[in-house]
């Protein structure tokens, strides 16, 4: 595997960290707040819902601590589950995150730890970041590094028991730099770069690639997917917010993504925020497009056709489009006791996924005399829509 960083990069980073405090005068940490959120995703035969709770508190204006609990309750009968012949399954994921920030002059240092657990997957991530205000606070530079260690397990899809002989690790490294720049009295823009490297068992252990059935070429057969054991990705994002003279905000962004698996992707976002009395309304549109991974095929010609074989729709060529609407109601504009402000928030996102080389294999699983039957490789392309709802309360104290 290619080494992610050489000694030169580490020396540069060390110099940078030492140089930054020279510019220090005084910065500020974020406000004390608590958020309680309920989320629900419903689409493609999958329902995921649960709570998320975040609390953030400053100590002596120099330190801040934060904690987040997040839960996913999953019920899945997705197209992948149906095509594999398995039955609907339920599972739960719990995630705890803790953060610590230290402000020294205009430099903020932060440390983070996240632990995520489900019965067949565990993930632990530690992160370190630094942020520095420069040039009369017109510019903020951020840098960060994360290290993740995951363990992939496998459940028996019939008995639901964890397979004791299957235990595969993944190591992850992430490097981030970002710049936030005030351009005019009404315009602020950011640029972010992130390089992520993974090494280990990167497959989904339940997914299969499909190939033409040697005994009947109208049908298909399945074998477990084989992924490369390394992946390195690069992403660069540009975002901007513009203040409109009648007190509203226009915001947009673009992200380009490329990785060593051959996936190239672009994400475009545009949004508009409009306050009206105690209300703030928001609308948004997001367009995402990606090309497939080099080792992706909807239908391989035969078993073991090549070294790596995948049929995950996440690695296929597709477009996703999202329309969002949101409303925030300020229910405590003048505060109450120790609470400075409180808001009620509701947000709805409708996402449409349109696949361009992932076919709906359920059509070739039908009896051959069914009028809807289509031979493997001639099924219609798969599409689905998802409804995403978030309801949350935020208080500042």
């Amino acid at each position: 595997m290619k080494k992610a960083w050489g000694a030169g990069q580490w020396v540069t980073l060390a110099l940078l960290v030492l140089a930054w405090p020279l510019a220090s005068v005084a910065g500020v940490l974020g406000e004390d707040r608590a958020d309680v959120l309920y989320h629900r995703y419903d689409g493609g035969g999958v329902t995921i819902h649960g709570p998320s709770v975040l609390v953030r508190k400053k100590l002596a204006e120099k330190y801040a601590i934060s904690a987040n609990y997040y839960m996913d309750m999953v019920t899945s009968a997705s197209i992948d589950v149906e095509v594999s012949g398995a039955s609907e399954y339920k599972e739960e994921r719990d995630q705890y995150s803790f953060g610590f920030e230290y402000l020294r002059g205009k430099t903020t240092y932060n440390l983070g730890y996240t632990n995520s657990k489900e019965n067949d997957y565990q993930a632990e991530t530690t992160s370190f970041g630094i942020s520095q205000d420069l040039f009369g606070d017109l510019t903020t530079i951020t840098m960060g590094f994360s290290r993740g260690k995951d363990v992939v397990r496998r459940r028996d899809t019939v008995t639901d028991e964890i397979d004791p002989s299957f235990r595969e690790p993944i190591d992850r490294w992430s490097y981030r730099v970002g710049v936030s720049q005030i351009l005019t009295k009404s315009l602020i823009a950011t640029m972010q770069l992130e390089v992520i490297t993974d090494e280990g068992f990167l497959n989904n252990p339940y997914r299969s690639y499909r190939f033409v059935n040697p005994s009947d070429d109208r049908l298909f057969a399945l074998d477990p997917e084989i992924y490369p054991r390394t992946r390195t990705s690069n992403a660069v994002a540009f975002n901007a917010r513009y203040y409109l003279p009648y007190r509203a905000a226009l915001h947009g962004g673009y992200r380009f993504f490329t990785d060593t698996w051959g996936i190239d992707a672009s994400t475009f976002r545009l949004g508009y925020t409009h306050p009206m009395g105690p209300w703030t309304f928001e609308v948004g549109y997001r367009y995402y497009t990606q090309g497939n991974a080099d080792f992706y095929s909807d239908l391989f010609e035969r078993a073991n056709q090549q070294n790596f074989m995948a049929r995950d729709k996440e690695l296929s060529t597709f477009v996703s489009q999202t329309l969002s609407v949101g409303a925030t109601y300020d229910f405590l504009p003048n505060g109450w006791r120790f609470v400075k402000k409180g808001t009620l928030n509701l947000r709805y996102d409708r996402i449409e996924f349109e696949y361009e080389d992932f076919r709906d294999a359920r059509f070739s699983l039908l009896p051959a005399d069914d009028p809807s039957f289509r031979a493997a490789g001639a099924e219609p392309f798969y599409t689905f829509g998802a409804n995403v709802i978030q309801a949350f309360v935020s208080v500042w104290f």
Partner: protein, 78 residues
């Protein structure tokens, strides 16, 4: 190799800015001219709990990842 050189160049550029620029550049938007930018509707991440949830929704269903501005965390989304 190209990507590593690009990374080194970006880091070097940031270092030069950090060492030479501080205090010499006159802010062209004065602190008292930043009322509009300080308005809560101009915050890049006004609802972090909601933004990190949506990032997770997309990351589990799309090939792309990263450069989202959050600290990141265990995904467990395979």
């Amino acid at each position: 190799m190209k990507a590593v050189n690009g990374w080194r160049l970006a880091m070097g550029g940031v270092l030069v800015l950090a060492l030479t620029g501080c205090g010499n550049i006159e802010p062209w938007v004065k602190p008292y001219e930043r009322q509009a930018l300080a308005d809560p509707i101009m915050a890049f991440d006004p609802n972090p709990v909601s933004a990190s949830y949506l990032d997770h929704v997309y990351e589990a269903r799309e090939g792309a990842r990263g450069a989202l501005g959050s600290a990141g965390g265990g995904c467990g989304c395979n």
